[in-house]
Symmetry: C2
Subunit: 256 residues, 2 copies
Amino acid sequence: MTAVNEAKREFTACVLIIGNEILSGRTQDVNLAYIAQRLNTLGIRLREARVVADIEHAIVKAVNECRAAYDYVFTTGGIGPTHDDITSECVAKAFGQRYVVNERARAILLRRYANPADLNAARLRMATMAEGAELIENPISGAPGYRVGNVYVLAGIPKVMQAMFESMAHLLTGGAPILSRGVSAELAEGVIAADLTALQGRFSELDIGSYPWYRQGRFGTAIVMRGTERTRIDACAEELKVFMRRLGGDPRDEEV
Amino acid sequence: MTAVNEAKREFTACVLIIGNEILSGRTQDVNLAYIAQRLNTLGIRLREARVVADIEHAIVKAVNECRAAYDYVFTTGGIGPTHDDITSECVAKAFGQRYVVNERARAILLRRYANPADLNAARLRMATMAEGAELIENPISGAPGYRVGNVYVLAGIPKVMQAMFESMAHLLTGGAPILSRGVSAELAEGVIAADLTALQGRFSELDIGSYPWYRQGRFGTAIVMRGTERTRIDACAEELKVFMRRLGGDPRDEEV
């Protein structure tokens, strides 16, 4: 691959949120939005996410489908010590690897207990994973995450997941950071849609999203432009503002 | 199928959250948790969710994989009038149906505009869908959702999605409602894990989840038991409390 191709290459990712608590509605996931925003800055495009139940064949299937389809897969959840934490067995099975105690992970866990006997069989599961996994540091609660191939296995607790992500983010290879800009006006989507379609045609390398809003009895549309070149995003925003004004709107920049 | 088998049958569902704004981290999805909780009461098990980009082949593939695998598929997002709203074209394509103006939907939209010319080409897309689709009422903003086969196509805006869901929820066939109960104690997961595994073995028809928590400098574990028989859930909770007390905890019921 030439250097030019490498520079233009898109790096893609998928997030697998593993856990019945998300699918039962007990827990509101917040990990996806965190990872999504961090991947923007790293120049990695998050193309898909799946929420998977604590069912072995479902996890194995999702891991295998997604690691084949994307450059990076990030899993969250299911790496604790209890019977419903089955992510690690499943990842090992997906890779056809042995599921073994990682001695470095075991040593990390041992340092956390005053009495070595506290590292019981259940807790030792937090150090058991696919053979050859590379550990990801957990500065919050000790028990590490890890990487196998292109699959990064992270905790489900947001604070722990974020700390794990930050401890390995510098190892991820991405492209140019994905930049975005938002412009909003009190115009209905149906009023701006035709001009917006034409705008997307002229700026085909940008991802232009249209999001209607209602607040305090007023309604309008927020347009978000995403891409890697600031000058193109800004040129697009200027053309957008021109037709928004022509249609009677008062466009304003908006945080995205 | 005998009546007994029918009563025991599990009804399953998948949610497809369609939209780049979730994958970019701009928007925090809240539709999944709403649908999940409503499906519990309807006796339908939410087995999977996917967040899919606004990319035709990705949406078509997800719709086809999930409608084959689950009794119900609920999609959210991508049914507005702008260029990035491509859910309806994709659902029609997934079913191999023609993508046509639905005259009932067109009449609903026309009633919302003082001037018929306001129903422009972009807005007419909100009435264009797979041939033979059955409409789902939208009491908030007019433009309807619809059903094609076992796929229910709903809006992305939470208030609108919820209103659409409620206008058709009575048409969904499910099993016994899925009940849950939570018990929490200031005990580490690693301390209760072995007893919990044995408990899950004795109550194999229940789904027992274990969720560590940290609040105000204290830590503990919340156990959530889910199933369709209240007496079994309560019996499980009593056994759980017995071993939590034996391990030094003070178990308390907790909202789930």
